[in-house]
């Protein structure tokens, strides 16, 4: 009996992976088969989950999406011709969806067991840390700078500048803070990475710590991700025992340790300064900048704050060199980005590619169009504060600057697809409602503006006369303008994007003629 692999990822489990696992164990026992089943991370080919993989001489072959009821027939097929099974997928790494990807960050996804140090090391783990220890802090910071890596949380700030800034500060205590408060709808790459490859994040943070002179770090994980919290906590203990954390990180002679902190259901805590306040045990209220966190961050000390994917990119940059990383991507968007296909999409999942592929390739070639089979209406790129992009703009390359050029953003790489039944006026109203619910309340445009926004849209949708609706459009646009330019942080500042884009591209949903909406 060959080795079997089944993901323990929380979404694979949400669609029945544990039931498949139980059935495999029971059936194997009944048949007296010696079963070796490894629970690995997920490939991110979620439409095929639960995806069972089986060792074969040519590589791992796959079966999916499985239910527990399919298990007997799969075990039968493994005795004979596996490819004859109706859910057989052939060699998993030859599936076009996966084969055409450029998996750097997610190189181990679906292959290794999340908490196996041996698996991690066998697939390149800790090579980056070893290199960082060998070349020292100055060269490590230079490698990050030269790689062109930009913050993957959404703001895309050059990571190397932050590293040099924090490294140059003099302080009794510095911190590394990992922003794992992945609250954007349509995104799940951070979750996948924390659940599936926790040592990669730990390695990235350890490199950051010894490079900038921080001795302690926090990973702030949202409470909606309990599996990620448990996996990370277990991984921290394993890494500490193995000497990758503690008084002498990887033999560097430098100390670094960290702990996991759990959020409490506040979207705003994904904003870095609100996150810092939350870590300090306060309400998650946005801070005015300056001072920037790199100089005065957590507990007033210099703090390097990065998203999960940014920190997890660092080991690879060190192991393979800055130039290797720069060779991926286009313009000033370098490296790869794990895009996340979500919503009404046939093939939802994770697609890691160099920047520069078009939204159409992502949605149509990878995603296979809508799950409902109905016509595509729009895609919201970059989370709940992202623009609704109509299909006429789908040929825009996914690049920070190109997307900014069409008034949209790449953000954290989430793409939520909608078919023609989704009412964009309701989605615009939701954007304002969400902002009202999640606003920290510090600045007026966001706190008051979002509530007024809901009211204006409600009045517009209820207005019987065209002239009344037109009057409300003017108010709504003014309000969006005030929020966009007057808010303290991106929540109030970008909540208007889904509203104004819905209004611009889908005026009919608001009961408007196209010309009025564009005035």
């Amino acid at each position: 009996m060959p080795t079997l692999y089944l993901p323990c990822d929380s979404l694979a489990r949400a669609v029945g992976a544990d039931e498949v696992s139980t059935a495999l164990i029971t059936q194997a026992k009944e048949r007296n088969l010696p079963l070796e089943l490894q629970r690995t991370s997920s490939r991110g080919l979620y439409w095929l989950e639960p995806l069972l993989e089986v060792d074969s001489p040519q590589g791992r072959i796959g079966f999916g999406p499985l239910t527990a009821d399919d298990v007997p027939s799969v075990l039968d097929a493994l005795k004979g011709d596996p490819s004859a099974h109706p859910l057989a997928l052939g060699l998993v790494e030859e599936l076009p969806y996966l084969k055409s990807q450029q998996r750097l960050l997610f190189a181990r996804a679906g292959i290794t067991r999340p908490l196996s140090l041996d698996d991690y090391r066998a697939h390149g783990g800790f090579e980056g840390l070893t290199r960082a220890v060998a070349i020292g802090g100055e060269e490590t910071a230079t490698a990050v700078f030269d790689s062109g890596l930009r913050g993957r949380g959404g703001a895309a700030f050059p990571a190397g500048i932050k590293w040099r800034t924090v490294r140059a500060t003099q302080a009794a205590q510095k911190y590394i803070v990992c922003n794992a408060d992945e609250g954007d709808s349509g995104t799940f790459a951070d979750r996948m990475l924390m659940e599936g490859d926790p040592f990669l994040l730990i390695e990235g943070m350890a490199i950051a710590g010894i490079t900038v002179g921080a001795t302690f770090g926090y990973i702030y994980v949202r409470s909606e991700y309990p599996d990620a919290v448990a996996t990370l906590r277990a991984a921290l203990n394993i890494a500490r025992e193995a000497g990758y954390l503690g008084a002498n990180v990887g033999g560097s002679g430098l100390a670094f340790d960290m702990e996991v902190r759990v959020g409490a259901g506040a979207y705003i805590c994904g904003e870095e300064t609100a996150l810092l306040d939350s870590l300090e045990g306060k309400r998650g209220i946005v801070r005015a900048k300056p001072p920037i966190p790199a100089l005065q961050g957590l507990f007033g000390q210099p703090t390097l704050v990065h998203n999960v994917l940014t920190l997890a990119s660092v080991p690879l940059i060190l192991a393979k060199g800055a130039q290797f990383y720069r060779d991926y991507g286009m313009g000033r968007s370098l490296g790869t980005m794990p895009f996340q296909l979500a919503g009404n999409i046939r093939h939802g999942g994770l697609v890691e590619r160099a920047f520069g592929l078009t939204l159409r390739e992502l949605v149509e070639d990878y995603g296979g169009g809508t799950a409902s089979g109905r016509p595509l209406k729009a895609a919201q790129v970059g989370g709940p504060l992202g623009t609704w992009v109509p299909p006429s703009q789908f040929d825009t390359p996914l690049d920070y600057e190109a997307f900014a050029g069409i008034g949209a953003m790449v953000g954290h790489g989430g793409v939520v697809v909608a078919d023609d039944t989704l009412d964009m006026a309701q989605m615009a109203r939701f954007a304002m409602q969400f902002c009202a619910e999640e606003s920290c309340g510090k600045c007026t445009p966001c706190r008051i503006g979002s509530t007024r926004g809901v009211e204006v849209i409600d009045r517009m949708l209820a207005a019987p006369e065209q002239s009344d609706r037109d009057a409300q459009v003017i108010i709504l646009k003014d309000l969006c303008d005030t929020m966009q330019y007057g808010s303290l942080c991106a929540l109030g500042g970008m909540a208007p994007f889904p509203v104004t884009s819905a209004l611009k591209y889908f005026p009919a949903d608001f009961g408007l003629q196209p010309s009025e909406a564009e005035q």
Partner: protein, 158 residues
């Protein structure tokens, strides 16, 4: 309601465990809620004293975060995702189904105290929307029948 002061020894032992660590308030509140099911009012002065905060500051933090409860929850906690990805796959229809079956607004507990309902904005299950979380377990690729079956299981369990 049982005497909340019965919870004090537990609260104080949790405070003792955490109070040396910087910014301990959220971990303390999480631990109390995990053990007791909610943050009892009687815990607030104890927390404030241990962390050298005012009671107002502690209450301010409890009320700011959606996760913290100040009353015992129902037997089951159901959180339906209402964010964009799930909306694009019919989350609003599921929400209507829940309102109808439980005779509830989007927030609240059913009259029999069996199910607490709350919206959630993203469970990270967006590739297989729509999704919900029931008692800490995520269920995805939901259908109306699937939701009915989950609710039936909760009711039988009561």
């Amino acid at each position: 309601m049982p005497d909340e002061s019965l919870h004090l020894p537990l609260v104080n032992s949790l405070l003792e465990r955490h109070k040396g660590s910087p910014g301990a308030l959220l971990p303390i509140l999480h631990d109390i809620q995990e053990r007791i099911g909610y943050i009892p009012d009687v815990a607030v002065p104890e927390i404030a004293h241990a962390l050298n905060l005012s009671q107002a500051e502690v209450r301010g933090v409890i009320s700011f975060y959606h996760d913290f409860r100040t009353a015992p929850p129902a037997r089951h906690i159901l959180r339906l995702c209402r964010a964009e990805s799930c909306k694009s796959r019919g989350a609003e229809e599921l929400a209507a189904q829940l309102r109808d079956r439980l005779q509830l607004d989007d927030h609240g507990s059913s009259a029999d105290g069996n199910i607490s309902l709350r919206p959630v904005y993203c469970l990270g299950a967006c590739a297989c929307s729509p999704a919900l979380e029931l008692d800490g377990r995520v269920h995805s690729r939901l259908s109306a029948e699937h939701l009915d079956a989950l609710l039936d299981a909760c009711r039988e369990d009561a």
